[in-house]
Symmetry: C2
Subunit: 354 residues, 2 copies
Amino acid sequence: MSELRNDRLLRALAREPVDATPIWIMRQAGRYLPEYGATRERAGSFLELCRTPELACEVTLQPVERFDLDAAIVFSDILTVPDAMGLGLYFVEGEGPRFERTVRTEADVEALREPEPERDLAYVLETIRLARAGLAGRVPLIGFSGSPWTLAAYMVEGGGSQHFARVKAMAYDRPRVLEALLERLVAAVTAYLNAQVRAGAQALMLFDTWGGILDPRLFRTLSLEPIRRVVAGLVREHEGRRVPVIVFVKGAGQWLEALAETGCDALGLDWTVDLAAARRRVGDRVALQGNLDPCALYAAPERIREEAARLLEAYGHGSGHVFNLGHGIHPDTEPGHVAALVEAVHALSRRYHG
Amino acid sequence: MSELRNDRLLRALAREPVDATPIWIMRQAGRYLPEYGATRERAGSFLELCRTPELACEVTLQPVERFDLDAAIVFSDILTVPDAMGLGLYFVEGEGPRFERTVRTEADVEALREPEPERDLAYVLETIRLARAGLAGRVPLIGFSGSPWTLAAYMVEGGGSQHFARVKAMAYDRPRVLEALLERLVAAVTAYLNAQVRAGAQALMLFDTWGGILDPRLFRTLSLEPIRRVVAGLVREHEGRRVPVIVFVKGAGQWLEALAETGCDALGLDWTVDLAAARRRVGDRVALQGNLDPCALYAAPERIREEAARLLEAYGHGSGHVFNLGHGIHPDTEPGHVAALVEAVHALSRRYHG
């Protein structure tokens, strides 16, 4: 493997000194980039794009070619694991993900396949291998998965949902079925992420999109505890370097202290969290990633620069901050505004380092 | 006016002793009740139902007739104020509220009508007068309004929105226009709520459905500060009794301390907030209302009883808790499950009082 020439991301996640605050953007390989649209057109569909390693690698690299970003993230979908467990993932244009089969009973849980990443998710691992080769050490490559709870929510509902009424009813009424499902998902997600590390992922991120919709008791049992178990099962060193783990739970600003105890290296913060207060709350236990509102990128470049300055000042001096949005970039964002943000973060952050 | 025979709600909001914890349900007059459906059918549409005081009064009283609730809330919509300001509210079946005109420029703000509640919102005030007569002192009647920020968000977008991108872009790029709009709304909402008190509302509630989608700086300037200004302008005593004000900001679990300083009597909590921790955080500054997940009502009655017991125990001994859901009741809720909840709260709460 080529030597890593820009290791700001890994150093910031380890809270080791950096020359400038690293930045990458959630969903940076995506629809706001015209070149992404062109590759997707060639693939035929979003799912074919995910499943064709040459094309998935191409879109993984696109944002790194265009912007001075400090990381790439493998292009994939968070629902690849349930798909590999036999649910039949498909996408309805403009309506998001759906599953052909749902999980509603104990029998449904038992019928789930135990995915073997090298066989059932080989296309993701091959994308990682190709992207590592394509990056040639320019920046590190991040691998990721949906969290057990977020995957379970989609698997029970059969897709996205306004209130996640079915999976919540199950949580209140038949907690054993849901716990059995989460048990299966902890194992599958752990194996999947470890396979990504073996294929070349240099950092990992767990996305818990729906942890923030739960009441405090259910949050602890259904979102937090499975995350803790996944993190405990991960390979933490590879190629002679630590593989840091970032945990991102949307809407979990109230639970930062608990999330900092899951064993992860960093917390992803959505934009509703006060970054200065978050740093005080987690102390030196974890690094922090975030947390500009994706809607701030609709503003004029000079305003984007002001918002970047505000967040850098909120985090303050020293390492441990990875700049990012507080959620995925919106598809109607101007690419030029992303360039302005990346430039501003690198330029304005130097005074907080060294 | 008839003497109030059940004043548990008003006593709990004032943190005065009660015999049992009072309960009412956000959106208790609504689609989950078959009798509501029958009245709405007679009205022809949701908006006609809101605008016909006899029918709006009828649905206001329905949940109180059916369940042993401790309060009624006037049946209306949160968007009546922007409608009275000239935006032309209408509803598209299954898609929620829309406005014929939006507010995007300074000229749009200047063109807004200053609503005169007794003229432009007379139908709400008449509903309140009829409902007070119909209640005849059984339980107190709550009046309400959307908060300035929540109304502004709908007015700029022209209806509901996934990300509220337009109003957020305005917040970052053209804050002066948004501040001018909020200024108008603070005046209009204050006048509207005071008119409701004069018409007979015995408690008031401000609904800030979208305060929780803002970053911390914008939350303070766009959501919190206008709420504080509305509360400061409200009539707080009427008919010889204090008129308490409940402020509910969805997704604001991180901001309870700040919200408790707005001058309100109580905070509404959504279901993601830990009720015991919330009580510790706000101390004796305000009462708390909430906060069962509306989805918990999908569970079996014995499970609903357990969840009620859990929340009552979380709040603990003494007055200052008004039981409610953490958000409006879902339209597909079984009315029998509501009955089970109301019964459980009254029965199980007695040990925490007296």
